[in-house]
């Protein structure tokens, strides 16, 4: 399965190849966790973050290997290097976790998120919203005389930027999927 073809991570050996871990700088990391898709596995992962006081900025989960019953959880988290190392080691300890990959340190990544925006307005604002959507390559997936629903994919930054632009133009509601990420190259 190509979706699972990711380089062997550092988790099982996280004690080695240590970066300087005792700095106070907060870093944002995208971590991919390959888990057995059994009941409660997401609760184990989330419970770990809640119980040990780690941050979750975004989280996506879906089964990626239907025959092997493996799901891929992508977590964006923030912490000092020491906390990030702990998060990876603690994730690796969960019995049903097969692999943990810190995509942020393993190489360049492709990160994508899908979001749906409802923007309502009339006249110039409506025209401007449509024009900006075009610039951002957002698709109109629903339309009334006074509203649009835009679908947009991209890196989280791009979606944030789009949200900032839509807000004064009548942004009503947003739904975001959270980040899915893969390493670039082979």
């Amino acid at each position: 399965m190509s979706a699972l073809h990711i380089k062997k991570g550092s988790t099982r050996h996280s004690a080695y190849n240590l970066r300087p871990t005792f700095s106070d700088v907060q870093e944002r990391h995208t971590i991919a966790v390959l888990v057995e898709n059994e009941p409660g596995v997401l609760a184990r992962v989330i419970g770990l973050f809640a119980g040990r006081g780690y941050n979750i900025e975004s989280l996506t989960v879906a089964e990626v290997d239907h025959t092997g019953h493996l799901s891929r959880i992508t977590i964006v988290t923030k912490g000092t290097p020491q906390v990030i190392e702990q998060i990876k080691a603690q994730l690796g300890r969960i019995v049903t976790v097969h692999d943990v990959h810190d995509l942020t340190v393993e190489g360049a990544t492709v990160e994508r998120e899908l979001a749906i925006f409802k923007v309502s307005g009339e006249g110039d604002k409506r025209v401007e919203a449509l024009r900006l959507a075009d610039i951002f390559r957002a698709n109109v997936v629903d339309s009334t005389l006074s509203s649009f629903v835009f679908e947009i994919t991209g890196a989280p930054d791009k979606i944030d930027a789009f949200a900032d632009l839509m807000r004064p133009l009548g942004l009503v509601e947003v739904a975001r999927t959270g980040v899915a990420a893969l390493l670039r190259g082979d």
Partner: protein, 583 residues
């Protein structure tokens, strides 16, 4: 070979196939089919405890004293929730146990049925892993996997929740297949890093071994290899509470326990060393004192099977992930092949310094002719029981620390105590588990009266199975450690730290059909202890000791290893505001 049988029978069959001979449990509605199967067989002995917490601690005692996993069987709802403390205790001390819980029938799950609790939800954070089995065909695989997970890598408690309909239904049973699991934590350490450690060993001027429960968990070979390494390098060795016995207390290089109530020489060696070799310990806060001043000038090596222990609280320079026995074997192999070198001259003078610290005689206490000092009671217990085939459990508090200071352990698996969780009420049921595993040995639970009362119902278990467990209660009519902290931190305002109505322990013993002994005069103590040892049956020994005795040495909260309080004279203003918020 596949055989068809009911889920309940599978449970018993899997336990047999896993070599289980004893199960500690308490029946209830949701486990009746399994209890029926227990009734119909004779290979596995079931010990009926009096409270589910007792079952789990007994399984822990069994596990810790044998190196084999312990097994507990309880019902759904309250049976499962009562097991939570024991599970958490086993998780923090890395004790392999398997807890089987009954569950309401699977078609009733989620309906708030009678005695229904979300057991896997409740126990998810306090087990290494847990399972809810919804199909009888899945049960054998889960049972065998549970034993594998509990005992592989860093050991720990696991729980299997089995709905009643799954117990009744029939399915196909298969025996254990060890290779079936994807869970295979590596046991070999990285050779390059081990070589780096060997190089550090060769150069070190002030080395110290700091060993922990991981050495015990790794098995008897690990203790043997540790002894070889310590004795052939001549480096001093200290241990955490959980690691006592891995290196013999009579050994030449033994420093005694380290940490908050550790020995002066052990803590000073930790503070002053230039190479710290942590073997299977985890830099617990009871060990390190204030982190900013923890062993400031040392290179730190850390051997641990759990990668998450590395750099969790203390930054280490030489991290080695692997099983203690495997790593020690490689260390010895490489060290010998490089010519068994140490910086002998420096190590000799380091050991001379250690001997100077030993002369402080930090465990000395003011003897008393009238009242039994708790330290004296333990000194006498040690002297009179040392030659026996002895196992010791403890409750939690001052008595536990004094036991760790004054009792000497020559072998691993002889000392069972609640270290990480600090569970009052652990020791008595644990002593029952130990005695079941070692029916002919002398099993003593060193207790405080307050801890002991937390699981005193297990007297029923001890007498029913004629288990000659000795309950050695240091009775100061106080929650001694709480009182000590209130004295040092809260202006001697003893808020709720004593009991106004303690039972007559002799009568209590007799009420349960056991023997009670009371002793209050130091002159009678030896005879009374001998009477306890020689009695063939459970004994409650009510040893009336000094009411306000503090446990020293003590590293106050927020202080470093070299800032120990050695006695009453040191306590004035010893703990400042910053330390007072710590536990």
């Amino acid at each position: 070979m596949t055989r068809e049988m009911t889920g309940a029978k599978m449970v018993i069959q899997a336990l047999k196939d896993q070599g289980v001979d004893t199960v500690f449990g308490y029946p209830g509605g949701a486990v009746l089919p399994i209890y029926d199967e227990i009734f119909l067989q004779n290979d596995i002995q079931h010990i009926l405890v009096r409270h589910e917490q007792g079952a789990v601690h007994a399984a822990e005692g069994y596990a810790r004293s044998t190196g084999k996993p312990g097994v507990a069987l309880v019902t759904s709802g309250p049976g499962a929730t009562n097991a939570v403390t024991g599970l958490t205790d086993a998780l923090l001390d890395s004790i392999p146990i398997i807890v089987l819980t009954g569950q309401v029938p699977s078609f009733m799950i989620g309906s708030d049925a009678f005695q229904e609790a979300d057991t896997v939800g409740i126990t998810r954070p306090c087990t290494k892993h847990n399972w809810l089995v919804k199909d009888t065909d899945d049960l054998p695989g889960v049972l065998h996997e549970a034993f594998h997970v509990a005992t592989s890598g860093r050991p720990g408690p696991v729980l299997i929740d089995i709905p009643k309909d799954v117990q009744f239904a029939t399915g196909n049973y298969n025996g254990p297949k060890p290779s079936a699991s994807h869970y295979q934590p590596p046991v070999k350490g990285d050779i390059e890093t081990i070589t780096e450690l060997v190089a550090a060993i060769e150069k070190a001027e002030r080395p110290v071994f700091y060993t922990g429960g991981g050495v015990i968990n790794s098995g008897p070979a690990a203790s043997q290899l540790l002894r070889e390494l310590v004795d052939s390098t001549g480096f001093p060795v200290t241990s955490t509470l959980m690691g006592l016995g891995a290196y013999p207390a009579s050994g030449k290089h033994w420093l005694g326990m380290l940490g908050m109530h550790g020995l002066y020489e052990a803590n000073m060696a930790m503070h002053g060393c230039d190479l710290m070799i942590n073997i299977g310990a985890r830099f617990d806060d009871r060990i390190t004192g204030v982190l900013s001043s923890f062993s400031p000038n040392s290179t730190k090596a850390h051997i641990d099977i759990d990668p998450s222990s590395i750099n969790k609280v203390v930054r280490v320079d030489i991290p080695i992930v692997g099983d203690v026995a495997h790593v020690l074997e490689d260390i010895l192999k490489i060290w010998k092949s490089r010519g068994r070198k140490t910086n002998a001259e420096a190590v000799v003078s380091w050991n001379r310094q250690v001997d100077e610290w030993r002369k402080v005689d930090c465990l000395k206490f003011a003897e008393d002719k009238e009242i039994i000092k708790p330290q004296y009671a333990l000194q006498r217990l040690e002297a009179l029981t040392k030659k026996y085939d002895r196992y010791v459990t403890t409750e939690v508090g001052q008595h536990q620390m004094w036991a760790a200071q004054f009792l000497g352990f020559e072998d691993p698996n002889r000392w069972m105590t609640s270290g990480g969780l600090g569970t009052m009420g652990y020791g008595f049921p644990a002593s029952i588990g130990v005695q079941m595993a070692h029916p002919d040995s002398l099993v003593i639970n060193v207790a405080g009266e307050a801890s002991w009362l937390m699981n005193m119902q297990e007297m029923g278990t001890a007498t029913q199975y004629k288990l000659p467990v000795k309950q050695f209660i240091l009775n100061n009519e106080r929650l001694g450690m709480v009182r000590q902290w209130q004295e040092l931190l809260h202006g001697s305002r003893y808020s709720q730290s004593w009991s106004e109505s303690l039972p007559d322990f002799v009568k209590l013993a007799e009420a349960f059909g056991a023997k009670g002994i009371i002793c209050s005069d130091p002159a009678d103590l030896d005879d009374a202890i001998m009477e306890m040892i020689e009695h063939d049956g459970p004994v409650i020994f009510d040893c009336l000791v000094t009411k306000h005795e503090n446990c020293f040495p003590m590293i106050p909260s927020g202080k470093a290893h070299n800032e120990m309080l050695l006695g009453e004279a040191d306590t004035e203003g010893a703990i400042q505001a910053g330390g007072a918020v710590l536990v």
